[in-house]
Each structure stands twice: as C-alpha cells, then as structure tokens.
Amino acid sequence: MITIRVNGEAREAPDPDRNLLSYLRYDLGLTGTKYGCGEGLCGACTVLVDGQPLRSCMATVGSVAGGALTTIEGLAEGGRLHPVQEAFVAESAMQCGYCIPGFIMAATGLLNREARPSAAQIREALAENMCRCGTYQRIQRAVERAAERLAGGAS
C-alpha cells in the first residue's frame, strides 16, 4: 500500500504497479483525465506532477509516489476556474472537448516553467497533444491569453 497526493488529498493505492491513468479514472473516479491512445502519443491523459506534465497512461502509480498530482478536476480553486481554463472558455477553444483537459494540463505545465512563452514555445510544448477536431488556432490563442493574464495580472 502506498499513499499519493491527488489534488491536495492523500489517497491510498494498494498496487504500485497499477497504471496511473486507470487508477485515476477507475479507482478514484477522476474521469476528466482521458484515455486517447495508451501509448503516450496523444496527450489526452496529461496530468501534472509537481506542476509538470506527465503522460499518465505511460506511468504507474508507484512512479509518482511522493509527488503531488494535479488532475483537471483539481485545477480550479475555490470554485474559481484557473486562468488557463478561463482562457479556453473565452476563446471557445474546444469542439468535442475530449482532448481539452490534456491540453489545459500541458499548457499549465508550460506556464509554470515559462511565464511568457513565445508562440513557437507554445506550439512546441503542445505538439505532443492531439486535437482531432482541429481547434489548434484557438488553443494557441487561449494559451497566449492565459499567459498574458498570469504574467500581467490583467483580468
């Protein structure tokens, strides 16, 4: 039995070899993190570990023991959307929306390490995430908007 922190709460995990994505979705019921390919190629399963993106479909629960996990459900604080979530809403950066949690987590990870990313840095950081609906232009604008908001404090 190991203990990991998910969205600020200590959770028990009986099997350290359990696939992290399955654990989050089927054991904890945190289904906002999506299965897309199971091969680390589409980014739908992206979560944050200590603020940095991780493909949960390629990880085991044991590999993140000791780290602080954030899933899409844990991003909003006190009922207020995170600025990256707000920006995706404002730019209508979604169609079916299935990939969007993964994009939001990847973008949040980027902004955690690079407060003012260039357009090229945003593309590079999100190039491993797939949106089959093709809303990339809006996603790009949403991340730029969130970066401005976070850096400038303007609302």
Binding site: S22, Y35, C133, T135
Partner: protein, 692 residues
C-alpha cells in the same frame, strides 16, 4: 438522471411532429444505410417553458463536437426572448427527446433548429395570449422581452412567464407557420456566442461514454480477430478464467469476452485466452486498391448529364485527361468507442456515444426481441466521430455481455481496436477529361469516379460540376472494398472535390491563366462567385500564372447546400509541406452562431489538411499497419495554419450546414498551392507521400 416530460408537467409544453422531412430522400445516405430508421411515435414534446420562467428544449441530435447544443440554445433563447442561460437543451436520450434518424449530413441546424425555432415562436405567441388575458390588454399591444410580456404603451404593466405559467399544465401544438423573428430583429442569433457547455469541458465534468461508470459494473475485454476475415476455430479460456478478478469468460455466438472487476484484470486475462484462428492471407493490400476499384466497378449512376461530350471535345482547343487517387483514411476520433449496458427488470439501458441513438435502440430491440419502449439509449458527450460513430457495434456487445453476466458491463475499445474495427472513408479513383478553349472556357466535362464500398450513393455527393459547362457527363460507380467503409465528414464530397478542383487548376495552367480568374470565367452561380471573390479578397490574392513559385492555391466547393471557397499559402521543403495560412469564405445562409460556424470551418480545414498531406490507411493480408498514432499521422498544433473565415451568407436565406463544407475544397487548394510552389502536380493523396 433527467426524467421524461410528463403530460401533467407544470408549465407550457409544445408538441410537434417528430419526423420532419421523413422518409429520407431516395438514394440519400440515410435512406440506404439505415433501413431500421423508423419513428415509433408521431408526436413528442419539443419544448417546455417551466413555471420558473426557464425553458428546456428537446432534440434527438447528439453533441459530438459540432456545438449543436449551443446552436439550438441560441435559436430557442432568441425566439422565446429569454437570456441564453435560461435555456437548457436535452439531447440524444431516447427516453426524453423526439425521435431522430441520426446526427449526420449537417441537418441539425437546417431541420431541428428550424423546428425548435417554430416551437419557441409558438410558445411565445401562447404566452402573449395568456398575458393579454391576465393584463386585460389586446395581444397587439404586447411584446415579449427578457422572459416577460410587456405592454408597449405602459412600461409599468408587465407579467413574467413564470407568473403566467405557475400552477398551469398547458400544452399547445407546434405551429408550422409560427411567426419567426426576422433576421434584422435577432438579439442572440447571428452574433458570436460562447458555448453553453464550455465550463464542463474545461473542468473535466463533461461525461463521455468512455467515462460512464456504474456501481457493480464489470469491465469487459472482447477477443478480437488478429486480421480481417479471420475465423475463430477454438478458444481455451481455462487459464484466463482462473485469474484473480475474473468473473466470467463469455462465449456466445461468436462473441468471446473476459468480464472482470477491473480494466487491468480483464486485459491481462484476455491476453491469456488461447485462441486459434483461421486467417485469410489472400486479401488485397492498399497498393492493390486503385486497380481493384477500376476493375470491379459496378452500379454506375449518372449524377449530371447535358449536351454531347463528343461535340464538346470536338469544339475544344485542348483536351486534358487526368486521373486522381484518394486512399482510405481513418476517422480516428480522440475518444474510442465505448458503451455501458445495464439490465433492470427486463428493461435495457445502454450508454453509447453513437450518432444514432434511436438507430441503436432499434438494433438492440430487434436483437433481443424486445419492444423499443423497453430499451433506452443515452448518448452522453461524444469525443468526436466525424460521421463514423453512426455505426456503433460495441453498444450491442455491452448489452449481450451485461445480460450474460447479470451485472452492468462496460466495453471500451483501445486505440488500436478503434482504428482497426471502425469504418474507413472509402478510397476512390477518379478520371477527369475536359475540353476547353484557349481562353479558358470549359466546353466539355467528363467525370468518372470509382468509390470503394457496397453503397453506390457514396460517390454521388459533390460529384456535380459547378461550372457552367455545356457538355457534361458525371458518372459515379461503386467498387469492391477490401476495408469496411463508413461515413466521414462530407463522405464522397471531399474526395470528388479534390479531383475536380485539381483538374480545373490544371486547365488554368494549360492555358496560362490565373486559377481564380479561370474559375470566375466559368462560374455563373452568384453564390459561388461571391464566396470565391470573398476568399480571394480576404487572402489578398494577386493574379498570376501557376507555377509562380509563390505557393498559393485556391478551390471552391458546395456541400450540404452551403457554398465555400478557400485560398491557401504553402511552403515546401523537400517532401515536407507546411500550410502557412488559409483564407476561407462560407455562405451557409443565415449563420445562427457565427462563432460556432467559424470553429467548424477551422476544424474542417485542419482535418482536410491531414487527409491532403499525411493520412492514408495501409494494410496487407487483412492486417492494418496504421492502427495507432505511431503509424497514422494526423495534424498537430505545429502543422496548423493561420485560418480566417469570412461568413458571407445572406441572413434571409435558410440556414444550411457549416460542419462539413470546410473540408471539401482544402485538399485541392493545398495540391494546387504545392503545384504553384514547385511545378509538380501531385494527383494522389496524401501529397507528402507522393511528392518527389
């Protein structure tokens, strides 16, 4: 779970016919593909105005990314004079919503949107009458605004919808001639509106079929053949059955599946099933398909005929004959198919991300010999489909397994299963022969297309020549298909457009004319001319003879009644094509939700870019080599162009679809731009594979 509308519901119900425009047009996709599509009731509740002054609209469509929930909410809110937030839209649950054939062919706004506008206008008129009695004023002196009915003369006299409906159980028949709001008076329609379901999508709260988890539910892993056409000879489950967590191995009429308490246990046990298969080695590979299509052509259907080709070719200064080929492509939605089934007291409920909840209900009822009223299909949020999720066999698998287990069962495909066992956009081989004068006037047009698939209508869509040509023959054939074909965004249309708009560009090059000018010379239809001129203006098109080295290309299209044109700019390095920007113009008549229409155009362009540059399904001996994102490349954010969309529809023209037209011109526009950049004409998709 939301409850069905009761006949004694408090509020005002609007009741209308369920099947507008039914039966489907003969020869249309729906009429041929879904022969079980029959409404079981004639009438249903379309709209309920509740005594708290809010409204709920019911529609049999599903939300799979096209933003229809938002589009319908906008229409109802505007007609009912309510704020957007006061309108809820219930979709895709067979117990709650009016019967619907399915969500495809861009019919949602055109048909259901119009029906709901009429329902809302009927409700508004009824509320005005109720208010007239309450306020003792003539109806003509009243107007509805912000959820209240007001006296036009005396602003102090008004009554809210809630006050009018409290304690009432009213029902009205939907008036087909209900007075719709003229475009000039729209306050919500025609303006950019955010999606009503956006917050659920950014917080992870939106529930897709992959996310449906029920108490006591078992995870299934279905044994799938290693190759197409493989026959199961025998299976030994004795090892698998003994694994911890395994509840049952079902073997029933060709369906073999492990049922376990967890997903990992089911998967692990399924790997331990000892199965012997008889595989078919004698199957064509993707390389055999072009030849196969021409060789097995059948059921020719002439979609357009005029004048005499012989005469046209004889009068022409030039005759040009070219052949185009488009391979199979995968829909590859982000969410693989998944379904959860539950049996309770002889009733069956299935959660499935299908584009045809009522179609699936009919299939289930038929399979189990049940009354359709005892089967409920709920389509939750759907993680993309692009036409393909009209076929959704995992729904039946889950229902069969749940019945065998006596517990709820979930079947969810892996990415590999999704890509192997879904359907594919049919491959096509298209021959085009044209005759034209030295000044670029097209006199003769012969278009012969061979589309893979058992359904001959597939190739009809978008095959007609939109140019004013006196001598025309357009004939499409069905041909043998080694892969299972199914629907896709603008099925057939996008493929036919690639051939036609590439060939028209070749005519322009042959006579040394600017490709936009040549198109305008041969176009008389005002809506076509308008979109092409708008796209060219938006792009900043400057006339030139291709190949100019600049890397610019254009194409036009017509799909689901909407007119579209696109101009693109590319850069080419070796065989790597970068589409830098796209300027598009769309005329879909009244644009109910411009933000939604733009989003759909952008998505269609990116999806079409993938089919133009990278996507092709490769297979040999019944095995798929591209069943995953490692081998099947789709566009990523660093491949996405800057896209602008000009919406040029006339608001007094009825709405037509916006979700599909954007894909039809893009592949040809890119191929034309690649030619303009490099001087190399590539007639086979995907371009990057064939660009040398």
């Amino acid at each position: 779970m939301t409850e069905a509308v009761r006949t004694d519901q408090e509020g005002l119900r609007i009741i209308g016919q369920v099947a507008m425009g039914f039966p489907p047009r003969p020869g249309s996709y729906a009429s041929v593909a879904y022969n079980n599509a029959r409404p079981d009731v004639q009438e249903a509740t379309w709209l309920l105005v509740r005594p708290d002054g809010t409204a709920v609209a019911y529609a049999g469509k599903v939300e799979y990314g096209q933003g229809i929930r938002s589009g319908l909410a906008v229409e109802v809110a505007d007609e009912l004079r309510l704020p957007l937030g006061a309108v809820e839209v219930v979709l895709g649950d067979t117990e709650l919503v009016p019967w619907d054939m399915g969500t495809f062919g861009s019919q949602s706004t055109a048909r259901v949107g119009l029906q709901l506008r009429k329902a809302a206008a009927t409700a508004r008129e009824a509320l005005l009458e109720l208010a007239a009695a309450r306020l003792d004023l003539p109806v003509g002196d009243l107007e509805a605004r912000d959820g209240r009915v007001w006296s036009r003369r005396d602003a102090s006299r008004s009554v809210s919808y809630g006050e009018l409906l409290a304690g009432q159980q009213l029902a009205r028949d939907l008036l087909d001639d209900a007075p719709l709001t003229p475009a000039a008076e729209f306050s919500i329609m025609g303006r950019p509106a955010q999606r009503v379901d956006a917050v659920a999508r950014v917080t992870g709260a939106a529930v897709y079929s992959y996310d449906v988890l029920l108490p006591g539910m078992l995870f299934a892993k279905v044994l799938r053949p290693p190759s197409y056409g493989a026959r199961l000879l025998e299976v030994d489950a004795s090892v698998a059955e003994r694994l911890p967590g395994v509840v049952q191995v079902v073997q029933e009429d060709g369906l073999v599946a492990v049922l376990a308490e967890s997903d990992a246990q089911a998967e692990q046990a399924a790997r331990l099933l000892q199965a012997r298969w008889e595989e078919r080695a004698d199957q064509p590979s993707h390389l055999d398909v072009p030849d196969l299509l021409a060789r097995t052509a059948r059921e020719g259907y002439t979609t357009q005929e005029a004048g005499s080709l012989e005469e046209g070719f004889a009068a022409a200064d030039h005759v040009l004959e070219t052949v185009y080929y488009v391979p199979y492509v995968s829909n590859a939605p982000m969410e693989p198919r998944a379904a959860v089934a539950r049996w309770e007291d002889g009733r069956l409920t299935v959660w499935a991300g299908t584009q045809r909840p009522f179609g699936l209900r009919a299939e289930l009822a038929q399979h189990f010999g049940m009354d359709e009223a005892d089967v409920r299909v709920i389509a939750p949020e759907i993680g993309g489909g692009f036409g393909g999720k009209s076929i959704y066999t995992v729904g039946l698998e889950a229902a069969r397994l749940a019945r065998a287990a006596g517990r709820p069962v979930r079947v969810a495909l892996t990415r590999t299963e999704e890509m192997m066992w879904a359907t594919f956009r049919p491959a096509a081989l298209i021959q085009v022969k044209s005759g034209f004068t030295a000044d670029g006037t097209i006199l003769a047009w012969q278009f012969t297309a061979y589309h893979a698939g058992e359904r001959p209508f597939i190739g009809r869509r978008g095959s007609e020549c939109p140019y004013h040509v006196p001598h025309v023959n357009v004939t499409v054939y069905a041909a043998e298909s080694p892969l299972r074909t199914g629907s896709y965004r603008s099925l057939g249309g996008a493929v036919n457009h690639f051939a036609r708009e590439s060939h028209v560009d070749e005519i322009a090059a042959a006579v040394g004319m600017d490709p936009v000018e040549l198109r305008l010379r041969n176009l008389t239809h005002p809506r076509f001319r308008r979109v092409l001129e708008a796209a060219a203006r938006e792009f900043g098109w400057s006339p030139g003879k291709a190949p100019s080295g600049r890397g610019v290309g254009a194409a036009i299209g017509l799909d689901v009644g909407s007119y579209v044109a696109e101009c693109v700019q590319v850069d080419v390095q070796g065989s790597e094509v970068k589409v830098e920007r796209v300027a598009a113009a769309l005329d879909c008549g009244l644009t109910v939700n411009p933000e939604g229409a733009r989003n759909q155009m952008e998505g269609s362009i990116v999806m079409g870019l993938g089919t133009a540059l990278y996507e092709a399904v490769d297979f040999t001996a019944g095995r798929l080599q591209t069943a995953g994102f490692a081998r099947y490349r789709v566009p990523r954010i660093n491949n996405a162009p800057a896209i602008t969309v000009a919406l040029v529809g006339d608001p007094e023209t009825p709405s037509t679809g916006a979700g599909e037209p954007g894909i039809v011109p893009i592949a040809a526009a890119i191929a034309n731009a690649v030619f303009d950049r490099t001087g190399t004409r590539v007639r086979e998709l995907p371009l990057q594979r064939h660009l040398r």
